[in-house]
């Protein structure tokens, strides 16, 4: 009976997907929603490809998924089934499987690759047991969605299959503890880089006490937030030793040196912020562990470009313009962008459009997260102006004042697109625009005004 339901849901989902395509509608989760309604334990009926890989974690999972799938596609996994253009919850994954499978639930491809939302583990891992699971990190995220790292760790850890090889971040003392003794584990990590300015002044540190004995941990290095190296003075608890250890970055040649089994491997870095380096380390560790050689991975990475929507830079007149995504409501990701801004050279101005587009429409945004975001990083004399656009700009004004930023530098406007008119181009030679993912429309309107506003400069 259940098997019949499965066949029926495959046909229904494929029909729904075709119909949507005919209507030119993009509903990535819809076929999966249909399938799961018709057959709730649908995911257990697929005859999964030989190699199944999942990538999860708070930050970086989309980049690591896309980068890793790209490396694999170029090296013997040409027709990998993946959700790179779909949702990362159970309905999104069901959609990808339903639209790609044969009627009996089997696949043409020899491999499948999924980005998995960390909260969806209970709906996915009991049915689909990946051969490899990457966890990029577990950090504080949107309080509405993710509560806190303890909560997410427990959800994820309860559902990790014993057969999965885990690719874990040794510098994250939270996620590096995922899995049981039965799981094979491969760790990636990053040493203190010669030119790195460690960031130990963040508001958030999601692990301060030893998870074994409760004593306060001694951190010897913090790359950012709690990501770094620490040891417990009472019981000796510390980071696992990385199997793939980033030891050097040459920013001129965009090269990352990784120490693995006592030999040095060089990989191209598409971008060199600390989080970009971790993303490459995760992708390298995964693809090397799956069985690719160093030269296969490095030649594939050579051709990888960072997605422009997340980071862009150009020049208008004599002003450098940098546009960076800064996920709103995600204090760790947003603090990372503030840290990046403080270390950029030049006399800077910042435009911030971080409000949640949907919250602004349906409700009133909970801005508690701005009090755990390191806006204090923006109080340097090398920042002349901060222009905040959005309905909640007066809350940002208060937050920036509490951060110690002088009121004369802060400018507010309710319409995001008015921010450009508040710029004083004579005060800066570098403009950094940070925006939330859903404010792309406002960002485009802002970009279109920059020419006339900055060219005179």
């Amino acid at each position: 009976m259940s098997k019949l339901k499965f066949y029926f849901s495959v046909i229904a989902a494929k029909t729904a997907a075709k119909l949507l395509r005919l209507l030119h509608m993009n509903a990535t989760n819809f076929p999966g929603q249909v399938g799961l309604v018709l057959c709730p334990n649908l995911l257990s009926y697929f005859k999964m490809p030989q190699t199944v890989i999942a990538v999860t974690g708070t930050n970086g999972k989309t980049t690591v998924s896309n980068m890793s799938a790209d490396i694999l596609r170029k090296n013997g996994f040409p027709d990998i089934v993946s959700n790179s253009y779909g949702g990362n919850v159970d309905t999104g994954i069901a959609s990808v499987l339903l639209t790609n499978c044969r009627l009996d639930g089997s696949f043409n491809s020899n491999s499948a690759f999924f980005e998995v939302d960390e909260r969806s583990a209970p709906h996915i891992f009991p049915f689909i047991k990946p051969d490899y699971i990457v966890c990029t990190n577990l950090q504080r995220d949107s309080m509405k969605r993710n509560a806190h790292t303890d909560f997410i760790f427990n959800i994820l850890n309860s559902y990790i299959p014993e057969k999965s090889t885990l690719i874990l971040n040794s510098d994250d003392l939270i996620s590096s503890r995922l899995g049981s003794d039965k799981n094979k584990k491969v760790f990636f990590g990053l040493e203190k880089l010669p030119d790195e300015i460690p960031s130990d002044d963040s508001i958030i540190c999601d692990i301060v006490n030893c998870p074994i004995c409760g004593s306060a941990l001694n951190f010897s290095l913090k790359h950012y937030n709690h990501i770094g190296r620490a040891v417990c003075p009472s019981c000796g608890f510390t980071n696992p030793k990385p199997n793939f250890d980033g030891v050097n970055v040459d920013r001129e040649s965009h090269a990352l040196t990784v120490l693995h089994d006592d030999s040095k491997e060089i990989y191209t870095l598409p971008a060199d912020r600390i989080t970009d380096i971790y993303n490459v380390l995760a992708a390298v560790t995964l693809t090397r562990t799956v069985g690719l050689s160093q030269s296969q991975v490095s030649s594939a990475l050579n051709q990888t470009k960072i997605v422009k929507s997340r980071f862009d830079s150009f020049k208008i007149g004599s002003t450098d313009v940098i546009i960076s995504l800064a996920k709103g409501q995600n204090p760790v990701a947003c603090s990372g962008v503030c840290n990046f801004i403080r270390h950029e050279n030049g006399q800077k101005a910042v435009i911030m459009i971080l409000e949640d587009f949907y919250d602004a429409k349906r409700t009133s945004e909970n801005l508690a997260w701005t009090y755990e975001t390191d806006f204090e990083f923006l109080k340097g004399d090398d920042i002349s102006q901060i222009v905040v656009g959005g309905k909640r700009c007066y809350d940002y004004l208060v937050r920036l004042l509490i951060a110690g930023i002088d009121k004369s530098k802060i400018f507010c406007c309710v319409n995001e697109t008015d921010t450009v008119s508040l710029l004083k181009p004579q005060l800066f030679n570098k403009l950094i625009i940070i925006y939330d993912l859903f404010n792309v429309k406002s960002l485009d309107a802002i970009k279109s005004q920059l020419g006339s506003a900055l060219e005179r400069n």
């Binding site: 303890d150 508001i203 009133s364 909970n366 701005t370 009090y371 755990e372």
Partner: protein
């Protein structure tokens, strides 16, 4: 005037949702005060000394148990401070630590300090987030919430803190949020509660300092507060 002493309990672990914003704001309002941060492994300053304010913010469920354990030896002292009228502010689930117990949906019951007459029911499978508009002392109160638990008043001597006008109250049988005993204020509203409620903060600082204290960035904070209230009152704004 004696030097004002503010003790922040366990800020390294009790700052889950931007609660530390309260302290950073108090530091701007009370530039001459002494702020003492007591870590979870440390001895509370209030144990041997008098303080003008004790603050504690939201924490994980595991940390709640650790905090109960750390504060248990000082139960009598805390009861005395509350009875003497020392101002306390507990935001988010810190309130539950001072209550009688927390019963978890797993069947476990965590005994808490028993200093205030509430009992909490926690269910990690059901979490709710929302906003709240309420009233205290003729001023409107706004706030954010995100919680796994609901609290019930089990003693007749606990007085309500905030009368709810829009949003979910502390539990479905009452129309208030949070509790007050003397100058102990506990509320599930989390994050920068003092920053977003300037009129409560003025009232509270008078309790702490014994006289009126000007707020830091007063006009900006009140402007943001008025904007938020206008927003919360829009009929299309869904406050769960």
């Amino acid at each position: 005037m004696n030097k004002i002493i503010v003790e922040i309990l366990f800020p390294e672990v009790c700052n889950l949702f931007g609660d530390i914003g309260n302290i950073n704001y108090l530091k701007k309002c009370l530039p001459d005060a002494t702020f003492i941060s007591t870590p979870l492994n440390g001895v509370p300053f209030f144990a041997q000394n008098s303080v003008n304010l004790i603050y504690i913010g939201a924490m994980t469920e595991k940390t709640q148990s650790d905090v109960v354990k750390r504060l248990s030896p000082y139960k009598q002292r805390l009861a005395q401070l509350i009875a003497d009228g020392t101002p306390f502010l507990a935001t988010g689930n810190a309130l539950e630590v001072f209550g009688k117990n927390i019963s978890d949906s797993s069947g476990e019951t965590i005994n808490c300090l028993g200093l205030i007459g509430i009992s909490a029911k926690r269910d990690l499978l059901h979490r709710f987030s929302g906003l709240l508009l309420g009233e205290f002392n003729d001023s409107e109160i706004v706030g954010f919430r995100a919680q796994f638990s609901v609290a019930y008043s089990v003693d007749s001597d606990t007085t309500p803190f905030i009368t709810v006008k829009k949003g979910k109250p502390m539990n479905h049988d009452v129309n208030y949020e949070g509790v007050r005993i003397n100058n102990f204020f506990g509320t599930y509203l989390l994050g920068p509660f003092l920053v977003v409620n300037p009129f409560f903060t003025k009232f509270f600082l008078k309790l702490v300092c014994g006289s009126d204290v000007p707020l830091a960035f007063e006009s900006e904070v009140i402007h943001a507060y008025n904007e938020r209230i206008t927003d919360f009152k829009r009929p299309q704004v869904k406050i769960k």
